[in-house]
């Protein structure tokens, strides 16, 4: 099976500044891929290129079989995206949000009618179908946002700090949703600042100053860098970063 994401020397330059410098990596189908990095390392820029939102300066990349230069719109149909900052509309109800996003992702009315009750049941939100999303606790919002982002059965879902500010129990429930999605074959590309969550990924890459400083399974990374936890590994790699950005 071909990888879901392939990049080769993927780079983005803003003026003299090399935000992303020759990234080469692959992500396999059904993999949970942790995309970590120091602030300012270039994670957001790299993610925007992979989502078809930003044209690279040089190098190659394909996502879900489509080229990031020439087929960004096909890519957008094959991916889901969710972040802490941009997720759902607070003044729409739970089922209105599902209908709205599923429509945006190109699902037909019939598909949406079929999918909505399934989704509500999976999340045990049947009682809240007509509740405004603004009135849901943050943890539920995030779980709903995730389910909505994969309702159209994308090949890959991009999660940008999905658990930021979420309580410890809900954070773990959220990761179980991620895990179930991956089991069904959805590829998960996730960023986080919680280092315990890095352990839940099949493989983790750590970006420092625009390049991938390390990429392997959490177990191998800990062995290679002599750390007890992923936090130790991250600290060892990012400590000497020259960029202190965002």
């Amino acid at each position: 099976m071909p990888p879901v994401i392939t990049t080769e020397k993927l780079s983005k330059q803003f003026g003299p500044f090399k935000a992303v410098n020759e990234l080469t990596f692959q992500v396999e189908k059904g993999e949970i891929f942790g995309f970590l990095g120091a602030n300012g390392a270039g994670k957001t820029t790299a993610m925007r290129m992979l989502c078809g939102l930003l044209a690279p300066s040089s190098g190659k990349a394909s996502v879900a079989g489509f080229d990031v230069y020439t087929q960004p719109n096909q890519i957008k149909r094959k991916i889901g995206y969710m972040s802490q900052k941009f997720s759902l509309y607070g003044d729409l109800t739970v089922s209105e949000n599902i209908r709205f996003y599923s429509g945006i992702y190109g699902m037909s009315r019939q598909q949406i009618r079929q999918k909505t009750p399934e989704l509500l049941e999976e999340l045990q939100l049947q009682q809240e179908a007509k509740t405004l999303v603004a009135d849901l606790p943050l943890g539920w919002k995030q779980k709903l946002a995730f389910s909505v982002s994969i309702a159209h059965d994308p090949d890959i879902v991009f999660l940008d700090e999905p658990t930021s500010g979420v309580d410890p129990v809900t954070r773990r429930q959220f990761w179980e949703l991620i895990y179930h999605a991956a089991e069904k074959g959805v590829t998960v590309f996730v960023t986080t600042h919680y280092m315990d969550e890095a352990e839940y990924c099949n493989r983790v890459s750590i970006m420092v100053d625009g390049v991938i400083a390390a990429l392997d399974t959490p177990a191998h990374l800990k062995q290679q860098h002599g750390g007890e936890s992923m936090e130790d590994v991250f600290y060892a790699l990012a400590r000497n970063a020259t960029r202190k950005g965002d």
Binding site: G37, A38, N39, G40, P137, L138, G139, E161, S164, G165, V166, D167, P168, V169, T170, R172, W175, E176, Y179, H193, Y194, M195, D196, E199, Y200, P218, A219, S229, M230, E231, F234, Y235, A238, R239, A241, R243, K244, G245, D246
Partner: protein, 300 residues
């Protein structure tokens, strides 16, 4: 230095409770942490203590001044770094710092000693506008601006949220130094691992205090015997452990599961997991962390 007595706050005409019966105090030169997720009421508490919001019920003082009657005196003796970056984006680093010094009737020079260590890290960029700064630099500038009038109490609302591990560690080093200079610090964070860096902490959830004590004492008061289960397939072993008859609770913690059992039924778990296809599963007793305690308190 800070006291709160039965503070209550609701929003939307009483329909949303932000803070419920909050009472605690913070001593001079103490580094006190408010630990809790979004929606716990951390920011509301900061806004009441910095006199930007009135509580519905209860009283509070900062530096012996009442937050309602003496609000002007409080404003001149505290530093506040809100969770949302709130410096002037169109002013440079130096202009922002100068502005805040002037507002408080002082100069950068007069209090330079206090901010020196932090300011030196961003000084090379002092002519850059605040809006163009990176996250880590904004955080440092925000701290400098909150310190420039030599406050006796420092309020920091989630200064490390969204910040990487390296910058977070650096930031807590700075806080330790400030505490050493006699400044009282109230700091909030959603990261449970930062709780251990505080002298005392309050664990907050949905406007209520779950526990207030030193991190060590909160950990001591964890009532159950806690075990770590290690196996190569975390999520599969999580699901299987849940079906074990003697299980009381089980949660993922990095590359292990943390579990508690009823009675002494931990004795049978390994055989059970081996049968379920986890031949490499192992079990050990562990000391809980703050996050274990928080999860335990959430359940009750």
């Amino acid at each position: 230095m800070i006291t709160l007595d039965k503070i209550e706050k609701t929003f939307n005409k009483g329909t949303v409770t932000a803070l419920k019966d909050i009472s605690f105090s913070v001593e001079k030169a103490e580094l006190f942490g408010l630990i809790g997720p979004d929606g716990a009421g951390k920011t509301t508490l900061f806004r009441i203590l910095t006199t930007l919001l009135l509580a519905d019920e209860g009283t509070a003082t900062v530096n012996d001044f009442d937050v309602v009657k003496d609000y002007k005196k409080i404003r001149s003796c505290v530093g506040y770094m809100p969770g949302k970056f709130s410096l002037y984006q169109d002013l440079t680093i130096e202009e922002n710092l100068n502005f805040f010094a002037t507002v408080f009737g002082t100069t950068i020079k007069a209090n330079y000693d206090l901010i020196k260590d932090i300011y030196q890290q961003i000084e090379p960029f002092k002519d850059r506008r605040a809006g163009q700064l990176s996250g880590g630099m904004k955080q440092k500038l925000g701290l400098c601006c909150a310190l420039i009038h030599k406050p006796v109490v420092l309020f920091l609302d989630e200064p490390t949220t969204g910040v990487d591990v390296v910058s977070r560690r650096e930031f807590w080093e700075m806080l330790k130094k400030l505490k050493g200079q006699g400044i009282t610090i109230l700091v909030s964070t959603p990261y449970m691992d930062e709780a251990n860096l505080c002298d005392r902490i309050a664990l907050l959830q949905k406007g209520q205090v779950l526990s207030i004590d030193t991190p060590a004492k909160i950990i001591q008061s964890y009532p159950d015997k806690l075990f770590a289960i290690t196996s190569s397939d975390i999520f599969k072993s999580l699901q299987d452990t849940r079906t074990y008859p003697g299980i009381a609770s089980v949660f993922t913690f990095g590359d292990t599961l943390h579990a508690t059992f009823t009675g002494s039924s931990e004795k049978g778990i390994l055989a059970f997991l081996h049968d379920k296809g986890h031949p490499d599963a192992s079990l050990e007793t562990i000391t809980p962390g703050i996050e274990d305690c928080f999860i335990h308190l959430l359940k009750n």
